[in-house]
Structures are given as C-alpha cells and as structure tokens.
C-alpha cells in the first residue's frame, strides 16, 4: 500500500465539513506554521521538500516562492490556479470536491509564507458546483478563526476569495489567469515582467496549482526533509493521477512516484488493467498536451529500462521516445481506438481554446484541425501528413505562451509514433471509415515481453 498524504482522509464520512476535518487532525499544520515558524522558515521547508509544481511544468515550488519580490508597502498575492482544464485531468476537482479544507489549510500556510493578505482561488467556470463547496469551507474556516483578522493571535490577516472563470482553457496559463482575474480578456502576457515581480494589479504574485498548495500541508506536518524521503530522486512526495480511458477503474489515485507505469495500469490498486479484456495501444501519461506513447515505449524506455510514474522516468528519451508527467492526466487507449480521430479531437480542442493573440497558434491550430478532420474522414492526402508535421514544427517554441506547444506536441507525437496509421487512413479512405487500424506492429507491450 502506497503512502497517502493528500487523499488519506478524503473518504472519511463528512470530511467536507470543518468539524470532521478538524477532528481528523486538520488545521494542525496551520497551527504549527503560524505559531512556531517564520514565513522564511516555511519557504525553506518547502524548498527542502523538493515539491514540484503539480500543474504540469514541474517547476520547484520553493524556488518559485523565493522569487517573489517584496517591495516596501506593496501588497503581495497568492493565487490558487484551480482552472484545471487540460483534457484528461480532474485531480484538482476531486481534491476540492471531497476534501476542500485541505486546500484551504494549504492556502493559509502558503499565504502566510508569502505574505498574501488577499488570496484568490481562480476556478474554471465548468466546475459550477465547486465554488459553493469552497466558499462553505472558507466560511467555516473563518468562523473558527483560521481566516480573517489576526489569525491565531499572530497578527497575520488573510482572506480567501473564490473567483470563477468563464470556461477558457487559456486562463489556466498563469498570466492569462491574472488578466482574467483582473477582469480583462484572458490573453497571456509577455514575460518579463514575471508575476513574481508584477502580477495581479501590478503586485508581486505567486500562482500555484491546487494540488501543489494542498501538498504544503503534509510538508509542514512531516517536515520538508521527511516529505523529500517519499518518492524517488527529484520526484518527491506523492502525486495525484487522474486515470481515464479504456481501463477498468478510472479515477483519481495518489501515488508515491516509485511505482512503474505497468503496475499503475495493471495493478488492481490502481487502474485495474485494460477494460473489456482488450489490448493496450497507447497512453498519454500527463494530460492531453504531452506526447502520446505507444505501448512498446510505455513500459520500457528506449534503452530498455523500466518506466516509472515519475517526472524523470516519464520524460526519459525526450520527445523522441519519451513523454512527460505533465498534470497527471493519464489517458489510456486500447486497440480499438483510432489515433487519427483522437488527434483530431485534441486539435479541435486546442483550436477552440487558442486565445487568438499570436499568429502561429491562432492560425496553425485551425489549419491542423482542418487537415486532421480531412484525414480522419478519408479525404486526406499523403502530403497532408508532411504538411501537419511542418505546421506543428513551426508552431512549437514560437508562440507567446505554451498553448502553441500544447497544441503542437500531440500532433507531433501522433505522427512520430503512428505515421503508418495516418498513411493507412489516406490510402484506405473507405475502409478507415468502417474499421479501426488496430494495433498493427505496435503489439501490446505485455505480449512483446511474453
């Protein structure tokens, strides 16, 4: 049984309420942090823990916190990024829905560490029922003296506000989120200035993911050193994985990053194997924008080593033969799935979510969608595959924000690993409309091993 730090109490009856959460040991970390630690010590503790941003990029949280500018007389802000919009990712929703006080607790400690007296939770518009849960939790915390003026007699004031987004994926990008929070059109900003220097309303701002901020609670409870012992290498602590697709047990799992990908898919503790006895075709391990991996590269790296569910191992081999941990949106495709259609679906999503600010993303995503639709519906040409490759290559790295990359990578990886499937669609326009390409030579990795 793996270590559980975040979801351990998630299924305790009534844990959503303050009383139960408190009874189960909640808010101990706030007491400890506010009463016995200085803000600097908390930042130091988070640095020691090796905690990395759980939103997707995996940037060390402690380091991000230490960048925040502290000009005299200027308020600072902590913003919780709850705009979880990456297709395949639903871990933050789970956390906020079932154990909201954990996030509130993490927010109070982090606000104290960063000196934020007004902290915001920016939540995606589609999570329509969650703000009520969060606001209820905030009200309870405030009623019990964990929020408001002079918390625990420390002289520290803190309020948490929940702000709903209007349903734009781009508002998960931290600078677009800030624009949206300020009431503006959610277009990403050009950096510098970085949010840590000039963020919300021109004030130093830290934007962190829900899971990241929740993880601060166990770090304080355990100490950073102890937290860092969980996991492996630079992948410390536990990680929430939202698993979906053709598996027997879709859901949110907390893993300690030492288990292998194979175990994660096939173990009954986690995904419980491929649904309906089908064979595994491919997997997107970190949310829709990370490269898709065919089965043969999923369990073993190109070098033949076992692939583990952690930051380093998942990205082993770079984009040529590896992928990314990303946001932990683990999507499994079985042999009946069509990679072309799948890629088209993603391209359609990214086209729709492009903010329209810079040319490569705005025009490139639309074009890729059209080409993929043609290939998928049997109207494609061989040259379309090369054209797709050319377009994605020129989008990548040349846009203002990472949405361009996010749109380019799935297309690139699909062509890189499944070019024959694309070609088959082009060469068999009619057949491709009635049956799937199947596994072809990408045999289920388990069969290869067998």
């Amino acid at each position: 049984m793996a270590v559980k730090l975040l979801l351990e109490k998630a299924h305790v009856e009534g844990i959503r309420t303050y009383d139960v959460y408190r009874r189960e040991g909640g808010y101990r970390a706030v007491e400890k942090a506010l009463k016995s630690m200085s803000p600097e010590a908390i930042v130091e503790e988070v640095k020691k823990s090796g905690l990395r941003g759980r939103g997707g990029a995996g940037f060390p949280t402690g380091m991000k916190w230490s960048f925040i500018a502290k000009p005299e007389g200027v308020p600072r802000h902590l913003v919780c990024n709850a705009d979880e919009s990456e297709p395949g990712t639903f871990k933050d929703r789970y956390l906020m829905e079932f154990i909201p006080h954990l996030l509130i607790e993490g927010l109070i400690i982090s606000s104290f560490a960063l000196g934020s007296n007004a902290t915001y939770i920016y939540i995606r518009g589609e999570y329509a029922w969650i703000p009520d849960i969060l606001e209820q939790a905030i009200a309870e915390a405030k009623a019990n003296g964990w929020l408001g003026k002079n918390i625990l007699g420390t002289g520290f004031d803190c309020e948490i506000y929940v702000q709903r987004g209007a349903g734009a994926y781009i508002c998960g990008e931290e600078t677009a989120l800030i624009e949206s929070l300020e009431g503006k059109r959610g277009n990403p900003r050009i950096k510098p200035p970085f949010p840590a220097v000039k963020g919300v309303w021109d004030r130093p701002t830290v934007v962190n993911n829900v899971e990241t901020l929740a993880a601060v609670v166990p770090i304080i409870n355990l100490t950073g050193e102890e937290y860092a012992k969980i996991g492996v290498g630079r992948s410390t602590g536990t990680k929430l994985i939202s698993a979906c697709g053709n598996i027997n047990k879709p859901g949110v799992y907390e893993i300690d990053m030492t288990i292998s990908v194979e175990e994660f898919i096939y173990s009954d503790e986690y995904c419980g194997g491929i649904a309906n006895g089908k064979r595994l075709k491919a997997c997107i391990p970190g949310g829709s924008s990370v490269p898709i991996l065919p089965a043969n590269l999923l369990f073993k790296t190109a070098k033949g080593e076992t692939r583990y569910m952690n930051y380093e191992s998942l990205s082993d081999g770079g984009f040529a033969t590896g992928s990314m941990m990303g946001s932990g949106g683990f999507i499994v495709l079985d042999e009946d799935q069509c990679v072309v259609k799948h890629t088209y679906t993603l391209a359609r999503f990214y086209r729709h979510e492009s903010c329209g600010q810079c040319s490569p993303c705005r025009e490139g995503t639309g074009w890729m969608e059209k080409i993929l639709k043609n290939i998928d519906t049997g109207k494609g040409k061989m040259s379309d595959i090369d054209l797709l490759w050319d377009i994605q290559r020129k989008i990548e790295g040349n846009t203002i924000c990472p949405l361009g990359d996010a749109a380019a990578w799935p297309v690139a990886a699909a062509i890189r690993h499944f070019r024959d499937e694309f070609e088959w669609h082009v060469l068999n326009p009619e057949e491709s409309q009635v049956r799937n390409f199947g596994l072809a030579h990408y045999a289920d990795a388990r069969e290869v091993v067998a």
Binding site: I190, K191, P192, H352, G356, C358, R362, K394
Partner: protein, 903 residues
C-alpha cells in the same frame, strides 16, 4: 554600439529593439503588429530573426526581433534559412483566411500585407479549405469596415484604445475567429478614428470618403501639404486625380504630427471639390461677365486706383497672400480680418512666446512632456492633435516611470502597459467645461475664465511667493495651486498649454507666469498657445491693426475700395460691424474659394485657390512656418492663388506692366526683408528653380497610369503636363527618383514598400526625424534665458455671477468646428446643432430646461434665440454657443450678454 547583421557590422543607437535596428539601417524585415509609435507586443511573430550567442555559435535561436533589445556585439541573421522559412510560414498562416480580393480592395497597391507577402517570398498556397468569414459593421461615415481581410495584428485596438483613448472599438471572440469592431453597428466615437485606415496593415479599415471617388495610390498626383483646419499645422499629403481632391494622407513630421492626423484634418478636404466653389470671376451690377482677363483688368483698373484702398487680411490665407495684399494696399491700410479682442489675444500669445522666458513647445515636445497643465483652452475641440499629444505625454510618463523600476525597455508596450496599469503622468486641466481629456487628468477643475486665470496666478504665486499684487486667493485655490505647482516643480520637461478661445488675456498671462517661473536651470519648460485658424499666428506676426480700425479709417463717401482676402468676415465679427464697414466702401473686391456671406457682398469676386490649387506658407501656433504645395493643376480654370490676383492688381495700381511672372519665393524674400519677425521664412523651402542634379521632384509615383488616356475623349495625343512654375515639384512621374528633401515629400514609397509603412525609409530611425531634419522653420527663436520673474502681476477680481449678465463664450466641436471642413458631408453629419449651452445651476437661475428657447441680446445686438442645452461639468455664469460650424456668425465672445427665456 556595434551589432552584426548577417556578418556585417552596423552602428546602432542603444535602447532600440532589433527590428528598429534593422529598419533604421535600411534593411528590410517584415512586421505587422509592431508600430513605431506604439511599440512591440510580439503578437504577429512575423519579424523573426536568428540571434547567435557569439561569432562561433552556428545554431542560434529564433527570436522575434521586436521583442529583443540590441546588445553591444550582438550577432543576428535576417537571411538565416530557418528564420526565412518561419517568416514565410507566418505569412502563409495569415493568408489562410485572407481573401484574394486585392483587385477590388481599397488597400491594393498600398497594402502592407501585400508588401510583406512579397517580401517573405510566400507564393504557393497549401491551405485547401474554406476561409472564415465575418459580418461587417457600419462604423459611421468616415471608416469602412471589411473584417474578412483581417490578419489579427491587433494594431487597430491598440491604436484606438491605448494610443487614442477610445473605448468603443474592441476585440471580441477568440481563437481563429477573433473580431475587431464595435459592440454593435454605429459611428466610431473617437475623433482620431481616421488613423485606423493607416494603422491597419491591410484593408479592414479604409477611408470611406475616398471610396466615394476611389483612385489607386499609384494613380494619385500627390503634394506635400499642410492641414488647414486648426492652428496646429499637421503635415499632410494631398492627393488628386482628374482635377478632384481624392484624399488626405498623413505626412510624417517628427516635430509635429508624427504618424497621425485627427478626423477633421483627414476628412475635412471635401470643400475643395464642393459645388459651392467659386470657379469664375464674378462682377456684380454690370451687364455681362468678364470673360477674359483683359476685361477683368479693365474693370479692376479704376477700383484699385482709388485713393483709399483697404486690405482685410485673413487668418486662413497664406503668408504670401496676406503679404501680397499688404503690398497692394500699403502697410498703413492693411488690417487683420478678425475682431479686436482676438487680435489682442493673439498679440499677447506672441509677446509671451517671444519674451525669451519660455520656449514655444512643438507637438513632439508636448508628447514628451512629463507634466502638463492646460489652462483655459479646450484643446480636445480646438487643437485635437495637441490633445492626442497630451494623452501620450500622460501615458508615456507613467510608462517611463514604471520602466525605471524594472529592467523593461520602453518600447515593450505590452509589458509597460501591465506595469503602468492605471497610472498616469501629471496632467491638470483648468477649463470652462469638461472634455474627454479630463479623464486623464490628476486635477480637473471648471471655472469662468477670470477664475481660471486666478487659479493659474495662484500657481505662479506658489512657484514664486510674494510676487503678486492681489493674491487674496481662497483656501481652495491655494491648496490646488500647491498641489499643481508641486507636481510641475517635480517635472523636468513641463508644458503649459493655453489659448485664445477663453477670450481672456489674463488666462494667457497667468499661464505664461507659470511657464516662466518653471523655466529655471535643469528644467526645460514649454508653452503652447492655441489659436483659432491655420495661419492665425502668421497673420498676427504681421502686426497689423484689427478690423475695427479699418472701419474708423473710412469716412462715409470716402471713395474707398475694400479688398477682402479669403475671409468670411461675418464669422469673425458681429454682423452689424461688418455691414457698417461694407456700406461705407464704394467697391468691395473679395478673393475667396467658397461662396459665403461676405462674398455675397462683393462687387468683384475673384476665384481664389484653396490649399490644393496653390502654394503658400502657413505659420502654426508653435511659430513654425510650413509650406504647402499645389496638387490640382488649374491651367484650365480662372482659379489662382490670391497672391497671384493681388500681384496683378498691384501691377494695375502702380501701372507697371513689365510682364514679370511673380514667384512666391520672391514674395517671401521681400517679406523677410521688410519684416524682421519673418526672418528664416525663405529657408522653409528653396526657390522655384531648385533641382536635384537638374531634376525636379515628381508629384506622381513612377507607376502612375493612364496618362495618355486621361483626355482621350477629347484628344488622343498625350496632353502636355501642367507646368508648375511656382515650386520645384513637377506634375509628372519623371524626375528625381529617391528620397527627396524632407520639405518636398509628395508621397512615401520605397522599393518593396508601397504602403504608408514606407515612411521608415524616409526617416533617420523609426519615430525619429525625417532624413535631413523635419520640415518647417521656427520663427519664434528661443532667446537667451533671462532671470525669470513674474511678468504679469495684476490678478483679476473673482468672477461675480449675476442673473442678468452671462459671459458669452464659444463652444468648439472637434469635428464640427471648421469653416471649410464643414463642407465634408460626413463631418457635417457628425457636427452638433446650434445650442445655447448652460450649466444646470444656470438653467435653474434662468428657469429653463433643456429644449426651451433662450433669447440672446447684447447691448443693442440681437443674436436671436437658441435652444437650451444643459451641460454638467461646466462652470456657472457662462453661456456657450456652438462656434465655428457652418452657418454660425461672429459674436462678441468674452462679453457679458443678456439671456431671457422665450415663452
């Protein structure tokens, strides 16, 4: 510093971005979203180049050149294969949805998108799908909207909202369906909307008035011109085809208007083509018209030979014409065709600007000011481009301030905008009523002109305590003066703006006292005085008495002839005054271009050239003399420049017939000799015989077409081009090729750059001076700085509001005020009706409400009655009447009149 571009060394000014650096050394690099006046946002990704770590780095990295600053010793490549391919790809992306409608697009042939597409080499289309389409909007009578052509560079909203402060144009929707327009159809509210047609790199926003009589840019005959519609003197390009003025384009002048024009300036040209034009000589009270010039001269001979001949000069006629009139009638008989009050105010302006204690600020200097005070002049409506400059001063000061704290270059617009947020530089506006400028102001205060001057004197008193004679200022005034005075003291380049439209000389004097007090070591203080017409300053500099004195000089039956130059006296003066004068004169010779109340009284009416048919010099409010050049050939008509007519009359009067053809440069030379205040006027542009290597400067681009067909309905032979003997510009496409001297730029064009963006090739650097210096000569020289002391020390008494006497002031309108611009139908539609405008409290005192009629009378003069309009944010005790629009008459502005409700 030295940077290496494609292995060549270039010397570059520091603080620039790479795109500016490449353009300033004359290299071609395509771009869309960057604009020299608006900076970089990195949206279009078109200007990508390769930058290398050092000379050994062969891999390099692709960067957007507009987003990276120059560093000493930097290596970059424009020609790098990856960079070139990427730039071509960006164009291909943009062209996926851009329609192939160039042949029917207004922008075709002068389109930045066309130029950039050719520049990148993109020629083959891989996009095989349907293009996205949009619904266009009605944006009013000035701007045409064609959204399908949009390439989403965001320049329009950045210009309209951030630069010009408009809020009714925005970006809507997202992804590859973003939309630039209004929330719903309707007239664009900004008076600077016309610039959208030049800011847009393709044909989304185009000039709707040009569309009415469309001509391709390459088929236009173009001349350097100067705007006629206010005293700022923006530089324009006037463009003609088939004898009709087609459009006005911006002519870059780094010291004056930069890249932009206001809508009155851009669209107010249609009076030139008006049906109301005077095209033939009219001799009244005589059987038969004068069909030949001989006949006319015979008729004129006795008129101009009268012993008493009086010349009435004009604030909208050129210096040449005014001077020719002075030559004809003699200095002692030359009068300014404006009221005594206005002449006095103009004189005060000149006196203070020439005192040596302040510097007359150019528009560029206002734009760069770090604190601005406006006193008693509604510049939004009387000098729109100056208001736009003030906006830049306020916004850029905040940006510059913000950029100092973080290492962000000022051209990085998006970041600077985020940093500055709502911060503004210092602006105080003390005016009779509110204007959109107030939104930017740190202090906005509304009072009567007397009280405004008291407020300004209070500031001067704060800056130099104990120097004023009657400084019994209220606590409110003292506190306000302290706040404003302190902010001005903090500034390094403050500018004080005032003007004549408050009809109160104390306002100007007090503004001067502030400026002079600030003009101390370590601080460069500018002052600007707004006047009413395009050559008000020039006329005022001639130092002639005002119109009233002309009246006194004529005795009844004194056998006098009046020569009235390009001036509808009824607009400047009260009707009874003008009638009195005209009745006293035996003969009235009027020279003008359009029929008006004064021309009706003419016994001889001579068709005068407009700015489009003649050459001349105007002096703007800065004291900058600028030349405009003829663009419509008038060989077949009787239309002549006024100075030509007046010269002919002078020949008649002096009975000299020597056949000499007068050139305008001779007039200017004589003027410079006779009147030392015009020293330098001859160096505005060289004489008519100037050539470059023996070649004249063509007004037509070398692609001008249809020359042989223009008159084919009459004669198939190619007509001889009209010969312009007055200037070094020719009415042909042949002649000097290349960048002409800055005073003689008829159009902007460079190989590969057919759009207005080609201006970069005419400048030292983007946003800098034109090559060889910006055109125009400042007549008001800065003298040696003397010890600043308060100049005017008499503070007027506080204004006392009485129920029976109301202060009458003119209310100008940014689009509607303009005798000539009112002939543009589009502007006429947008100009306000005539109202008597009063404050809510005044309305209460008069017991009237909006829509009631008010009778306006002034010691014997009945001005008739006007409907009431109640305006919030204006001071009490004042009645405004809309001024300057067509159909308005001169009033005794600045006097106190009676108001009575009409039952």
């Amino acid at each position: 510093m030295v940077i290496h571009i494609d292995n060549k060394e270039y010397n570059i000014k520091s603080g620039k971005n790479l795109l500016e650096a490449c353009l300033s050394v004359g290299l071609d690099l395509p771009y869309f979203c960057w604009h020299p006046a608006m900076g970089s946002v990195g949206a279009c990704r078109q200007c990508a180049v390769k930058v290398y770590k050092d000379e050994n780095d062969t891999k390099g990295r692709l960067v957007m050149s507009c987003m990276e600053g120059v560093k000493d010793g930097l290596y970059l490549s424009i020609e790098d294969k990856t960079a070139k391919e990427f730039r071509e790809q960006v164009i291909e992306w943009l062209m996926t949805n851009h329609p192939h409608d160039c042949p029917v697009c207004d922008e075709g042939g002068a389109c930045h998108l066309q130029d950039m597409t050719v520049m990148t080499g993109h020629d083959y289309r891989r996009f095989k799908y349907k293009k996205r389409t949009y619904t266009n909007q009605y944006l009013g009578p000035l701007i045409h909207h064609e959204m399908n052509r949009c390439i989403q560079c965001y320049r329009c909203v950045r210009y309209y909202r951030d630069y010009a402060g408009g809020d009714d144009l925005n970006v809507f929707a997202a992804h590859n369906h973003v939309y630039f327009g209004r929330e719903k159809d309707g007239v664009l509210q900004s008076p600077f909307s016309g610039n959208l047609s030049e800011v847009c790199p393709t044909g989304v926003f185009t000039d709707k008035t040009l569309k009415e009589h469309y001509t391709r840019k390459w088929d236009l005959t173009m001349s350097p011109s100067v705007c006629n519609h206010c005293s700022v003197g923006c530089n324009t390009i006037a463009a003609e085809r088939y004898g009709e003025l087609r459009c006005i384009l911006n002519r870059y002048n780094g010291d004056v208007n930069g890249y932009f024009l206001c809508d009155r300036g851009r669209f107010g040209y249609e009076f030139v083509n008006s049906e109301n034009r005077i095209k033939r000589v009219i001799i009244r009270n005589r059987a038969g018209e004068a069909s030949t010039e001989e006949e006319l001269m015979q008729h004129l001979q006795p008129l101009v030979s009268m012993s008493k001949i009086i010349g009435i000069g004009s604030p909208r006629a050129s210096l040449e014409s005014n001077f020719a009139l002075m030559q004809l009638v003699g200095k002692q008989n030359f009068y300014q065709g404006i009221s005594e009050d206005e002449a006095h105010l103009n004189r005060v302006c000149i006196d203070v600007l020439q005192s040596g204690s302040v510097h007359s600020a150019s528009l560029k200097e206002i734009e760069q000011a770090d604190a601005v005070l406006v006193v008693g002049e509604d510049i939004w409506n009387t000098a729109p481009m100056m208001a736009l400059a003030v906006r830049q001063a306020v916004v850029k000061t905040a940006g510059a301030e913000a950029s100092q704290h973080v290492q962000i270059p000022v051209w990085l617009d998006s970041a600077i905008k985020e940093l500055a947020q709502e911060d503004k530089g210092f602006l105080a506006v003390l005016n009779v009523s509110a204007s959109p400028l107030d939104e930017l102001a740190t202090h906005a205060w509304h009072a009567t002109p007397d009280d405004l001057s008291r407020a300004a004197f209070a500031i001067a008193a704060y800056l130099q305590p104990g120097k004023l004679q009657a400084d019994n200022f209220s606590e409110e005034l003292t506190n306000q003066a302290k706040a404003i005075g302190e902010a001005l003291k903090q500034a390094k380049n403050p500018v004080i703006i005032t003007g004549v439209s408050s009809y109160n000389d104390n306002v100007i004097k007090a503004a001067f006292d502030i400026a002079a007090s600030l003009n101390t070591a370590g601080r460069k203080t500018g002052m600007a005085c707004v006047m009413t017409e395009c050559n008000s300053m020039g006329l005022a500099l001639m130092d002639a008495p005002a119109f009233n004195h002309a009246m006194d000089s004529v005795r009844p039956n004194g056998h006098a002839t009046a020569v009235i130059l390009e001036n509808d006296l009824y607009r400047h003066l009260t009707p009874n005054l003008v009638d009195n004068f005209l009745n006293k004169c035996d003969h009235i010779i009027v020279l003008d271009s359009l029929h008006n109340s004064t021309t009706e009284k003419a016994s001889v009416l001579l068709p005068a050239a407009t700015f489009a048919e003649g050459d001349g010099t105007l002096v703007n409010n800065e004291g900058r003399a600028q030349r405009f050049f003829q663009v419509i050939p008038n060989a077949d008509t009787q239309v002549k420049e006024s100075w030509q007519w007046l010269w002919k009359m002078q020949m008649l009067r002096s009975q000299k017939v020597n056949g000499h053809v007068l050139h305008p440069d001779e007039l200017l030379q004589k003027m410079e000799t006779d009147m030392p205040q015009f020293k330098g006027i001859t160096s505005v542009s060289p004489g008519h015989d100037y050539t470059i290597h023996g070649e004249r400067i063509p007004r037509e681009p070398h692609r001008y077409s249809g020359r042989t067909a223009i008159q084919a309905n009459k004669n198939v032979s190619e007509p001889k081009p009209f010969y312009d003997g007055d200037s070094p510009l020719s009415f042909t496409m042949e002649g000097f090729k290349g960048v002409p001297p800055s005073w003689a730029v008829p159009f902007f064009w460079a190989p590969g750059w057919n759009s207005v963006q080609s201006v970069a090739k005419y400048q030292d650097e983007p946003n800098g001076s034109l090559k060889g210096g910006n055109p125009g000569v400042r007549l008001l020289q800065d003298k040696k700085k003397e010890n600043a002391d308060l100049f005017f020390k008499d503070v007027p008494e506080q204004f006392v509001i009485t129920k029976d006497k109301w202060l009458l002031l003119p209310k100008f309108h940014v689009l509607g005020s303009g005798e000539l611009s009112g002939y543009t139908k589009a502007l006429e539609v947008l100009s306000p009706e005539l109202f008597a405008i009063i404050s809510p409290k005044s309305a209460e005192a008069l017991n009237v409400k909006e829509g009631d009629m008010l009778q306006l009378t002034d010691a014997g003069i009945a001005y008739g009655s006007l409907p009431v309009k109640v305006l919030d944010n204006m001071c009490d005790g004042v009645v405004f009447v809309n001024a300057g629009s067509r159909g308005t008459v001169g009033m005794n502005w600045g006097t106190r009149i009676n108001l009575a409700k009409v039952n």
